[in-house]
Amino acid sequence: MALPINLGNCKVGSNLKTKVATHSAVLLKRKWLSHKSFEIMISSPPGFQFEPGQRVGLSMGGHTRDYSIVSAPQEAELIFCIRSVAGGKLSTLLSVADMGAPVSVYGPHGYFTFRSTTRSAVFVATGTGIAPFCSMTRSGISNFTLLHGVRRQEDLYYANQFQQNAHEYVPCLTAADPLPQKAFKGKVTAYLERHLPSGAYDFYLCGRQEMIRDATLLIDERFPDSLVYTEIFY
């Protein structure tokens, strides 16, 4: 859910303004980005519009799950970056489905979109949580600091893109492999704690719930008066 502000029982962010619809698409391409993660390209349904950072529900074989869009609105197809989860129903299906297979697309949903202010933007992603930031940077948003937390170097998909557009791009690796250049050894939260100069920022956090919780509590303590936007994947 996009911006989980809790209105009592309701997490705002499912939909407040945009028109949501069900669309039909087909699987066009699959490319493996690492051992566990792959990119899929599906046809962009006629009339489908979205803002960078938004997500859709993808449905195949009776299973529907949320996925953030990687591609930019001006691109001809929709691209997603998906982790193949062990025993996971839809991610497994999408990792083996035949080209041309039908996919239903629900949405777009969510408010995890970039809001420009005078403050510096800090994007923090874990794993496939990089997806919405890809869409943003492919749409021309630049000058942000990006921390990408992964286990191994092979999971630093889209590094080239960010090296070009980010003011600062910091891969944060937790596995004991040799570190690539300019990478940080440890979690994204450890980097925030030790290396981000104090001040007020616009934080955009996307990925695992544990990271989002730890980062938010850290921001409350170390970077008061910052804005925090979150997108929790799981």
Partner: protein, 188 residues
């Protein structure tokens, strides 16, 4: 995904506009009360279960209140307000039309009445008083944070809450009427 995030365990929460603020902040207080009102409307609808039209009307209002709550959960000067849907005059007219319809069937009031009677009327009165509290808090919040000028979306929100209280008052009377209970006038 889990319902609990743990990001509010130390007394802070997030606004739709991204601000991290104390759960004791006036803004949280205001939309918290709106949530309370919405839940009371749910209780009222549950008691009215056989009256499908009334329940549908209340559910429409519950949905409107979520929309209104999003404005109270957003800093007025944030561009996040661009993502919010305004409370429209149509939604206000919906309440006014319902008020007019109920009033036509009700005996004229010549005295204050005691809130209560049938269980559904009692819930409607409770909802009305909580709605008034919501309105008071919204007024205070909006006028304080928007000292220079209250913009149209916020004006509509205040009108909506004001009209909703009136709607709940006539709905309470309607509930007594359809259950054959006379409103009890206030006697000194």
């Amino acid at each position: 995904m889990k319902i609990y995030t743990g990001t509010g365990d130390k007394g802070k929460t997030s606004l739709f506009s991204g601000d991290r603020i104390s759960k004791a902040d006036a803004q949280i207080d205001a939309y918290g009360d709106l949530d309370e009102l919405n839940s009371i409307l749910g209780a009222l609808a549950a008691h009215l279960a056989t009256e499908e039209k009334r329940v549908a009307e209340l559910q429409q209002i519950q949905s409107d209140l979520l929309q209104a709550g999003a404005w109270l959960a957003t800093r007025p000067d944030s561009s996040a307000t661009d993502s919010l849907r305004e409370v429209t005059t149509d939604q206000i007219h919906f309440l006014e039309n319902a008020i007019d319809r109920y009033e036509k069937e009700l005996p004229q009031l010549n005295a204050f009445i005691l809130p209560g009677g049938h269980i559904t009327a009692a819930w409607a009165h409770l909802a009305r008083t909580v709605c008034r509290r919501c309105e008071r808090k919204a007024v205070s919040l909006i006028t304080q944070s928007m000292k220079s000028q209250v913009t149209e979306p916020y004006q509509h929100l205040l009108v909506y809450l004001n009209r909703l209280s009136d709607y709940l008052f006539v709905l309470a009377r309607h509930c007594n009427r359809i259950h054959g209970i006379a409103d009890k006038p206030w006697k000194l």
